[in-house]
Amino acid sequence: MSSPEPAVLEARYTWGGDEFLFVEVAESMSLAANFRVMSIAAKLSAMQLPGIVDVCPANASLLVRFDPDVLPPSTLEETVRTIEGDLAHHHDHSLETRIVEVPVWYEDPFTAEVAERFREGFHQEPGGTDIDYAAKVNNLKDAAEFIQRHHEQPWLVSMVGFVAGLPFLFQLVEREKQLEVPKYLSPRTDTPKLTVGHGGCFGCIYSVRGAGGYQMFGVAAAPIFDPAQSLADFKDFMVFFKPGDIVKFKPVTEAEYNTIQSEISAGTFRYRQVPVTFDLSRALANPAGYNQELMEALNGV
């Protein structure tokens, strides 16, 4: 059975069979919850405890895979609880990360073609486009205003997963300004590679072609998962995004999209990116002002 709620700390500890510990930091999504998850995950990973197999931070929870033959479950739980307790008592909530500019062709023909194949029975408004629907449910004037809201403020990679290298994105704005769009009524069996999608309060970029239920707004111009590791940004690892990365979408035209495709073919494409220190308290106190500062860091690149 699930562990009972701890008296003082917020997180809920429960087991996924004999190889997984699940730590639910909060039921609701928030920047603060995601930050706590990332902090716990970073500290646990840094300990390099024998028997830890995978440390997987998610939006508001943490999944740890372990080998119970090496690391007894009770020892692992005690360790994570200690980390959680230590973090509750100190207030240096900063994260060394990077801000990355991601070029997006909004309202592109690739997602439009797939969307047309999944209307009746799949979509809330089979007669319209995903982006028109998204604008409507967010009480925005039109698709253009939705696109503006989508790219003018940056997003935090709150989790990487589902499939290889897919980032979940949480926009760095007040809750009342979060874009929320229901997922498709029934998941599609097809989604173009690099689709920029949205479901609930989360954005995402589909790293590979496949099934998906998020609304589709456009395509990212450059790869985010490169098993062949042919581009320079993938020299160290085939997956581009890490939890904690900050993403600034940049709208591009068809011509700009095509130029980027040529750079990718030539092997010369690089993401514009720069290291930044992300400060949670400043982000929460004045999101728009702090985001401006973060985005200005990209100007020098």
Partner: protein, 328 residues
């Protein structure tokens, strides 16, 4: 040395013990779904447990070997044929250069394994030779086999002797039954089920549907009920929705409360459906053997009992290896 794939079969892939350490970026563990059968196949031909094998799904391949090869076919019951003549399963077979290996109709279960001395010698990607089809990594060019593929076979490692016995005794061959009892540890989001929902999960009869593959198995049955609540921010509108979280391998999710899905080794690493429990590690091979229509009961056990079962499975493997005279 190589296998020449004349007919690939339905879904034949290269698999080993899997790829851990990258689940945090969505790369699943992959590996042979029925690890026990794959390991004993390797043992019969004198390989280490982690050599890559071919996993065959329902319809096996037709292949020939360009050199003499020592092989063993383990896993789900199927007629094994060499140049059209029936040969025993769970038994080491000597193939001569040019021999053709093919299969009859599967008699139960879902997957069988071709182990070859020296192992399938594809490049290791992130520490494993297993195929992850969705990400197109590992295995043979990141995909299932196709006709005309030349699948490389490795040279036997030094010191890996072929065991004395050439067959796995009957008592160490798993059952491929149409009825299963699967042990689970309740947890994760089981508190979100109503009492009736939990009762249905544990006392209902569930049948494996045809929607079952390396990612997961979907079951039909009485359905379950979720407690009503005001959904947390970001969780989605259905009571079976949660804020997207990591999925334990073996965890059971019940989207909409209708059909439970057990996630297996190629499953997505996370998502927004509440999980109510997790199949214990010792029963993951059992689930892998479940063909559509298999009648299934879920039995809840404690974490401590799951750890005992884990030790029992390790001991069973040791005894099986000892019975054929394999090391380790």
């Amino acid at each position: 040395m190589a296998f020449d794939i004349r007919n690939p079969g339905l879904a034949t892939t290269v698999q080993d013990q899997g790829r851990t350490g990258h689940y945090n970026v969505g790369i699943p563990q992959s590996g042979s779904l029925d690890q026990y059968s794959a390991e004993l196949g390797n043992a019969l031909v004198g390989n280490t447990a982690n050599e890559a094998v071919l996993e065959c799904t329902y319809l096996g391949p037709v292949l020939s070997t360009d050199q003499d090869a020592l092989i063993a076919v383990t896993g789900a019951p199927v007629e094994v044929k060499v140049n059209g003549e029936a040969r025993p399963q769970w038994t080491r077979l000597q193939l001569k250069a040019g021999d053709e290996l093919s299969f009859g109709v599967i008699q139960g279960g879902t997957r069988y394994y071709i182990a070859v001395r020296g192992g399938i010698d594809v490049p290791s990607v992130l520490g494993s030779r297993s195929t992850y089809s969705l990400g197109a990594i590992g295995g043979f060019h990141g995909r299932k086999l196709e006709a005309g593929d030349q699948v490389p076979v490795g040279s036997p490692l030094d010191g890996g002797a072929v065991p004395d016995a050439d067959t796995v005794p009957e008592e160490f061959r798993p059952a491929f039954s149409k009825e299963q009892t699967v042990r689970i540890v309740l947890g994760l989001y089981d508190h979100r089920l109503t009492d009736e929902g939990l009762d249905n999960l544990l006392n209902g009869e569930w049948k494996v549907t045809p929607v079952a593959d390396r990612m997961g198995l979907r079951y039909s049955g009485p359905g379950v009920q979720w407690k009503e609540r005001e959904q947390p921010f970001g969780a989605g509108s259905d009571p079976s929705n949660i804020v997207d979280a990591g999925y334990a391998v073996g965890s059971i999710q019940i989207p909409g409360g209708t059909q439970p899905i057990i996630l297996h080794r190629d499953a997505v690493s996370g998502g927004g459906y509440a999980m109510v429990g997790t199949v214990i590690s010792a029963d993951m091979d059992l689930v892998a053997r479940a063909a559509p229509g298999t009648s299934t009961r879920f039995v809840a056990i404690s974490l401590d009992e799951a750890l005992v079962a884990r030790k029992e499975l390790a001991e069973l493997k040791r005894n099986a290896r000892a019975a054929i005279g394999a090391g380790g």
